[in-house]
Amino acid sequence: MRKIVAFIFLIIAVVSCVSVDCPVQNRVETTYALKKPSGGPDTLGADTLTVWTHRIKYTDNKRDSILVNRLCGAKATSFAVLVSHTLPEDSLFTMLKDTTGRQWLDTICIRKDNFPHFESVDCQATYFHHITELKTTHHGIDSISIKNREVSYDKEEHFFLYLKANR
């Protein structure tokens, strides 16, 4: 009888435990992979790349929000950028700067459909996305293509970004 009572208390202790199963990786981002025309990975080397966007609601002088700050180096072959929750189109501004001080400004426009995504009441609500259209200017950027249209918690490459070789 004692064993049964002990077993019941053990079961109650197990049942009364609460676990929170939120995803460890819970940022919804698009990943841009830098590519050479040959298809191999490109790198920024000594050049720097900055990406920012315009806030929809902002206080006085805080319109810009930096998303990638002066990315550079031989290992800089890709970067990730957050996606807006509900805007139909995200506009990103890029500035590519070389060591001599020359800079190239571009704009990338991403049109998308937004879908609410719920994991649990303990996890922050978020949106997943389906990329419908992609446009860019061509000052420092040669071209950009979509590799994966679905944007979720998965860390996959979504876009191939080809920078101009001679900038």
């Binding site: 019941i8 049942v15 966007t53 609601k57 509900t86 609410p116 719920f118 994991e119 009441v121």
Partner: protein
Amino acid sequence: MTKKSISSFISRLTVSLLLLMTVAQPADGQKTPKQEKDSIPFFRGFAVSFDLVGPAQLMLSDHGEYEGALRINLHDQWFPVFELGLGHANHENDEVTGLTYKTTAPYFRLGMDWNIKKQKHDPYRIYAGFRYAFTNYKCDILRKGLEDNVWHTKADFGMEDISCYQHWLEGVFGIDASIIGPFHLGWTVRYKRRLFHQEGDIGNSWYVPGFGINGSDNLTVNFNVIIDI
């Protein structure tokens, strides 16, 4: 020396086998004792039960169940069971995430318990059994004014009346003790395993009526008041 030990082993084995055969086979003319006939009828009646853990959960937290069961007693050994319940969750405006989750829906379970005690007709029983369960439910998932941390836009998040269903299986272990007259009290511990499910278009359900906080499996406890009828 080795030869001697082998021969003694063989002789021991032969003697043991012969003894075993003598014990196993009754001598000619000796009758095996007849098993006493069980005079207890096959059909022993019905019992209804009500769970107290679910209502207590509802009082102390934001989700729980009201649940009753009808059990048929076949020879104090087999117990086909039908369970019917109403699951309810109202998690409003979570203090961290601001999310609201609401659902109210019925569920049912069908299954069988076996009395695994040697003395089947004792007033105390130990059960092992299984259940198949199903629920079809609608839930509301809402978050007012969800703010985008970069663009600083605000939008209402979620959907109402999301149609979902779930099939699951339960392994049950239980204890039943006769208290007075037709009244019994009993515990059951249940391991629940999801089979098939649909959770709508916006991700996961948080609470599934009858199953509990969602996941692919779950462990729950019931405390039943049982009345023989």
